[in-house]
């Protein structure tokens, strides 16, 4: 009985030792993995800050001004163009009869000439009658 217990104890010992080794190497592996990720994060962070710096260099006011002067025909803001509140904005003009305006634009706005029975000849263009 005692021998059996001893055997069990020895097995436990070997088992726990193996387990400890296993844990140890797992930890080492995870540590390495973590360090790798840390380095990646650091590299990404650096890349972000480099890009931020580059973006700032590209959008630096001095550079944008030179480009705007060269390629855009903008003029400096006139103080009259600023609106402090919504009340300062000019009212949008009343649009009125939208369909009527469209017809007018197409030249179809004039009253339609209805042919009458007594003046059938008047339907011919007046110019044609001229001697």
């Amino acid at each position: 009985m005692i021998r059996l217990l001893n055997l069990a104890a020895i097995c436990c010992l070997i088992g726990s030792a193996l387990y400890a080794y296993h844990i140890k190497y797992d930890t080492l592996y995870d540590t390495e993995e973590a360090a790798k990720l840390q380095r990646q994060v650091e590299a990404e962070r650096l890349a972000i800050s480099t890009l931020k710096g580059e973006w700032q260099a590209v959008t630096a006011p001095a550079r944008v001004q030179v480009l705007a002067d060269k390629y855009l025909d903008l003029v400096p803001l006139n103080v009259r163009q600023t609106a402090v509140s919504a009340a300062d904005l000019p009212r949008k003009e009343a649009e009125g009869d939208e369909i009527g305006q469209k017809l007018e634009a197409l030249g179809l706005g004039e009253p339609t000439m209805t042919p009458t029975s007594k003046g059938a000849g008047s339907a011919t263009p007046a110019g044609g009658r001229k001697p």
Binding site: I2, Q56, P61, A62, Q65, V79, T82, V84
Partner: protein, 586 residues
């Protein structure tokens, strides 16, 4: 056979009795009898004790010896990367940041063939001085830099040379993406990423250096960005207008600042000529000094604002007091006279509007020499201004007599940094709170907590009224940008050349506040020796150059800085002043 040989033989073949004894002893040792345990425990304890002693001994050995080996490498590591916090403007725009750079180093004591190494390295880096490199390598040092900040391609090439004892270190390199824009505020760093000027130097002397010396790990994210009061858009616009003015008026130098009058924050500050902080060597050139804080100048008539405020605050005069400016003031061989005189008797606002030296000097004399000195001291004009940047000690006569009070009343005979004068003018218009200017972001509460009361709030309102009057009808018309209700004062000081005031070399200043009834910003423009150009009718006085530029700056920046334009003048801009500005005669 000798005795010894016999003895050895006996040892080789031990008698059977002895074998039996050893077996019994081992048997006893492994037997599980209670009477034997104490001896066994002792044996085991001794064995473990010995193991622990061995481990401790090894630890002590490691602690004592390996330090030297590690330190050389660690030292190079510390030198190599000095991360710095980013610098951002008040809206979060990046003003300075670190980027990755590669540097190549060598360990001369590990180099196999030094001449070959020099030859090969200089073939990849042709701009390197081969002789200097050979000299570096010949020293018995563990670590020398070969070159800082090389390109990735160069790194690969050197790597493929396969030289033992040559290695690379990732370093941080400081870049300033906006170039010259805020050069004087930001300053610069040296190759080791340590601040040598401006805010960069301030960051080092306020904490960063201590952290570094303590050996704490510094990474980019453990360092909080430093936020400045600066507004990059305003900074660019100010510098741009200043530069255009500098070219147009062919001035020797120029400077400008925009301050928030209520918080003392410097929203923008430029001094020309300036430098690119990416080329740090230029930062320390004498012609590139920051004229706004390190240069001292006679501020001219800008000082009249202080004198008038002082006399009003002391109750010696009020807005209706009339002063006779009809005759010149004589002090021994000195005569004080006015540039432009219209009436012999003038009121206080008129004296200010006509920029009368005689009138202002008389106002100062009413307060007296001691009172004047005490006021200037209280306004911070006698002491070095303490901001985050370096600033110069003001120059003033140590033996101060009545004549000094007379001249200092209109800004001559004492020289201060322009920003220092701006600080006092801010206090004059903001309700009397004297706040030391700051380049870091600050709230109004923080500013007020550290401020001192220079003048009474009512005096401040009277001064705003006078400044508005001057911008409306007096010498400050140049910057009266439509819609912004500007208040302003010109200042022209003749420069002293060989001990005499020069008739045509001027230092011109222009101070404007926007809007005059409830000031938010102060704009200060200065030019050193501006010339008369077509369009200025031969004048080189402040209104024609500094004033014109100030007007443009206000026009351009007021919408950006959120100052709303008003096309109808405010209803009661100065409630405690009975006569309205428009009713007052010039």
């Amino acid at each position: 056979m000798t005795d010894a040989a016999r003895h050895a033989m006996a040892k080789d073949a031990p008698p059977p009795r002895r074998i039996g004894r050893i077996a019994r002893m081992l048997g006893n040792l492994l037997r599980m009898h209670v009477d034997k345990t104490s001896a066994r425990i002792l044996l085991v304890a001794l064995a473990f004790g010995a193991v622990y002693v061995a481990i401790m001994g090894r630890l002590v050995e490691i602690g004592l010896t390996s330090q030297e080996q590690a330190s050389a490498h660690r030292a190079s590591e510390v030198v190599a990367s000095n991360p710095r916090p980013d610098i951002i403007d008040r809206n979060g725009e990046v003003l300075a940041t670190d980027v990755q750079a590669v540097s190549v180093f060598a360990e001369p004591n590990k180099l196999v063939d030094k001449d070959e190494a020099v030859e090969l390295i200089s073939s990849v880096l042709p701009d390197l001085d081969a002789r200097a490199l050979r000299e570096k390598f010949s020293k018995r040092k563990g670590f020398v830099w070969v070159k800082r900040d090389i390109t990735k391609a160069q790194r690969d090439e050197i790597y493929h040379l396969g030289l033992p004892g040559v290695g690379f270190l990732d370093e941080k390199r400081r870049i300033y993406p906006n170039g010259n824009a805020a050069a004087h505020i930001l300053g610069a760093v040296n190759t080791d990423n340590i601040g040598i000027a401006g805010i960069e130097k301030y960051i080092d002397s306020h904490g960063l250096e201590a952290l570094r010396d303590a050996g704490l790990p510094l990474t980019a994210d453990s360092l909080k960005p430093v936020q400045l009061a600066l507004d990059l858009r305003a900074q660019h616009a100010l510098r741009d207008e200043l530069e255009k003015g500098l070219e147009h008026y062919k001035a020797k130098a120029g400077g400008g600042a925009i301050m928030d009058v209520n918080t003392g924050e410097v929203i923008a500050m430029a001094s020309l000529p300036d430098f690119d902080p990416n080329q740090p060597a230029d930062a320390l050139k004498p012609e590139n000094i920051n004229r706004m804080t390190v240069g001292v100048f006679e501020m001219g008539s800008t000082y009249k604002a202080l004198t008038t405020a002082m006399a009003l605050d002391a109750g010696k005069i009020n807005l209706n007091t009339t002063i006779n400016v009809g005759s010149n003031l004589r002090y021994g061989r000195f005569t004080i006279h006015d540039y432009h005189r219209s009436h012999p008797i003038m009121t206080v606002p008129q004296i200010f509007g006509h920029s009368s030296n005689i009138g202002t000097a008389k106002e100062a004399l009413m307060v007296g020499v001691e009172g004047h000195k005490a006021f200037l001291k209280k306004a911070g004009q006698f002491d070095r201004m303490r901001t985050e940047l370096e600033s110069a000690e003001p120059l003033y006569p140590k033996h101060w007599v009545e004549l000094n009070t007379v001249t200092a009343a209109f800004g001559q005979g004492m020289a201060v940094a322009p920003l220092q004068a701006a600080m006092a003018v801010c206090a004059v218009v903001n309700g009397g709170h004297l706040e030391t200017p700051t380049f870091l972001k600050r709230t109004e509460e923080e500013a007020l907590a550290k401020s001192t009361q220079l003048i009474k709030p009512i005096t401040s309102e009277q001064m705003r009224y006078i400044l508005r009057f001057n911008a409306d009808k007096g010498s400050g018309k140049a910057a009266n940008a439509a819609g912004y209700y500007v208040g302003a004062k010109t200042g022209t000081a003749a420069k002293i050349i060989h001990g005499h005031y020069s008739p045509n070399k001027n230092f011109t200043t222009f101070t404007a506040i926007v809007p005059a009834d409830k000031p938010k910003y102060l704009v200060l423009i200065v030019y050193d020796e501006p010339q008369a150009v077509p369009g200025t009718y031969g004048f080189t006085t402040a209104a024609w150059n500094a004033g014109a530029v100030a007007g443009k700056v206000i026009d351009r920046l007021a919408p950006i800085l959120g100052v709303p334009p008003r096309f109808d003048p405010p209803l009661r801009p100065f409630p405690d002043v009975p006569i309205s500005v428009t009713d007052l005669k010039m």
